[in-house]
């Protein structure tokens, strides 16, 4: 746990912002798909979990939209304001498969873990294709990485007309993040894809059991410990709430 000053903020799409934090220990150790749990003085009671978007030298970045009052407060922060930062938490993507190509599929805020994923895939010697989808061109994240980048919009205003999943080619290793409905479609097409899921979270450290993820084999485990990255076919998508505000923000 460390006290991290805000170092900057910039807009990367309509309503989507990146916040930078000085967090050396986390920047040094975070892996793609892991998250930080952020809290602040006079903030809401519970921390808010965010995938780490970038990690360079002593800095990390997270990407967010104003979904509720907590994220709205974060977006009102100024350089120098402090966020209590717990992490890196959870289990990230696995790049040990020996695949030659990595396909990153993101929808809306699902870009969150993908910059780090692209970096780690390259380190593992893979060619990176990134397919990014959003409702409209204005909501496509301006920051991306990949040897090939494919756009998809629901209204056809940029790139392929349709979903990111539909626009994606087939390949060895598929990593995905986005709204739960999108991830359910990923699971249909690529059962072995690795997907980063989002849930409400209490503690982020494995004790409260609030971030239950329903499993196909029955029972639940914890997005904050066993997740947030899962094999797509292991999740019982019909039992994972898809109506919650965070799950429908695209």
């Amino acid at each position: 746990m460390l006290d991290a000053p805000v170092t900057g903020k910039r807009q990367v799409a309509r309503g989507m912002f990146v916040i930078g934090l000085h967090a050396p220990e986390i920047a040094a150790s975070v892996r793609a798909g892991q998250f930080v749990n952020l809290g602040w003085e006079a903030g809401p009671l519970l921390r808010r979990p965010f995938s780490v978007f970038r990690a360079e030298r002593e800095h990390i970045e997270v990407v967010l939209k104003a979904v509720g009052s907590g994220t709205a407060q974060m977006l009102a922060m100024q350089v120098g304001d402090r966020l209590s930062c717990l992490g890196p938490l959870g289990r990230g993507f696995d790049f040990g498969s020996g695949a030659r190509e990595a396909l990153l599929v993101s929808g809306g805020l699902g870009v969150a873990p993908m910059l780090l994923a692209a970096r780690e895939a390259r380190v593992a010697g893979m060619k990176v294709t990134w397919v990014h989808g959003a409702r409209t061109a204005a909501e496509l994240c301006a920051e991306h990485d990949g040897d090939v980048v494919v756009w998809a919009t629901d209204d056809g205003s940029q790139g392929t007309h349709g979903t990111a999943v539909a626009a994606a080619p087939d390949t060895d290793l598929v990593l995905a993040c986005g709204p739960n409905r999108m991830l359910a479609a990923v699971a249909e097409r690529w059962p072995n894809a690795q997907v980063a899921v989002e849930t409400y979270m209490g503690c982020g450290t494995g004790v409260c059991l609030g971030c239950a993820v329903p499993l196909r084999r029955g029972g639940y485990d914890r997005a904050c410990k066993e997740g947030p990255v899962y094999r797509a076919a292991d999740i019982d998508w019909s039992a994972l709430p898809s109506h919650l505000p965070y799950a429908v923000v695209a």
Binding site: M1, L45, L86, Y200, C203, V207, L209, Y220, A239, L244
Partner: protein, 300 residues
């Protein structure tokens, strides 16, 4: 700052509340150094899946939870956790649950004598199960029956965690004291509901949940005080404690120790900070020990 809870001597007055510290093994982030004792996540005799998500919802200065006592059951606790607890330098009590008094008794019998298990906290106050839980805790006779069922099967310390969802907590407190409880824990969560206006339904899949956090603290101080006035056995205060002064309110109100719960979710160092802050308070006010702290316990 050691305290006595019945025959049990604890090295400090700040304990980890059930359901907020897992089995104590989850993360190195959770600091155990200042713990007086830990109460495990609530378990049943058999494994339970728990409730469907969403299980938690944040509310003003608090949170609702309906986890549904997800857990691996007694055999797994005996096999996987108790051997670790036996090595620790503070006691671990197991929070026990059942759908009937006899099931509480059976669970106690299975756990009694297992190295690493120092005592029991009877949960007759969980609001998030279909059978048992709170339904025992808001009926003084049922509460006493469960307490007796456990008491008959162990000589280890037996604490009873009370529900706030009663019209007179003193009645239940006296009933379980008479049934052989060594201490009371007051209180468990309040039953609450929050509605999602996007879909016109409760924010929790279980519909209702247990409200915890600073929102309930004044209610909890009041109920812990009432319980402490009603009985001679020690009362352990619980409810929204996040800072040292919160804990001190419970101690002055008549509690012998406190449990910190929801605050641990936000601040993994909460227990250590509360412990150190109590010590600093005692020193700053010139009290040689915790026992010298003034207690507000008027008896009618």
């Amino acid at each position: 700052m050691s305290v006595a809870i019945g025959a049990m001597r604890l090295r400090g007055p700040v304990l980890a509340a059930s359901g907020t510290f897992g089995y104590g093994t989850e993360v190195p982030l959770l600091e155990r150094g200042a713990l007086g004792a830990m109460v495990s996540k609530g378990i049943f005799l058999r494994a339970r899946e728990g409730t469907a998500p969403p299980r938690i919802a944040e509310t003003p200065s608090g949170m609702l939870n309906a986890i549904g006592l997800q857990g691996p059951g007694a055999e797994a606790v005996v096999r996987d956790y108790a051997p670790l607890w036996a090595e620790w330098d503070f006691p671990v009590l197991v929070n026990i649950n059942g759908e009937s008094a006899s099931e509480y008794g059976e669970l106690t019998a299975r756990l009694d004598g297992v190295p690493g298990i120092a005592g029991f906290e009877i949960n007759i106050s969980c609001p998030n199960v279909e059978q048992g839980g709170m339904f025992f805790g808001n009926d003084p006779r049922a509460a006493a029956t469960v307490t007796e069922a456990v008491r008959r099967r162990t000589k280890l310390p037996v604490w009873v965690k009370l529900t706030p969802m009663v019209s007179d907590i003193g009645v239940v407190a006296r009933a379980v004291e008479s049934a052989g409880a060594d201490a009371l824990c007051a209180i468990n969560t309040f039953v609450g509901m929050s509605i999602d206006l996007n879909v016109y339904r409760p924010r929790l899949s279980f519909r209702t949940g247990g409200l915890s956090g600073p929102a309930i603290r004044p209610l909890a101080v009041h109920l812990a005080h009432q319980a402490a006035r009603a009985v001679r056995i020690p009362v352990i205060g619980i409810g929204g404690i996040a800072r040292p002064e919160d804990a001190l309110e419970f101690l002055v109100a008549g509690c012998s120790a406190v449990q910190v719960g929801t605050a641990t979710f936000v601040n993994p160092k909460a227990i250590a900070e509360v412990h150190d802050g109590i010590a600093a308070f005692l020193e700053a006010r010139g009290f040689p020990s915790l026992a010298d702290l003034p207690r507000y316990l008027p008896r009618d």
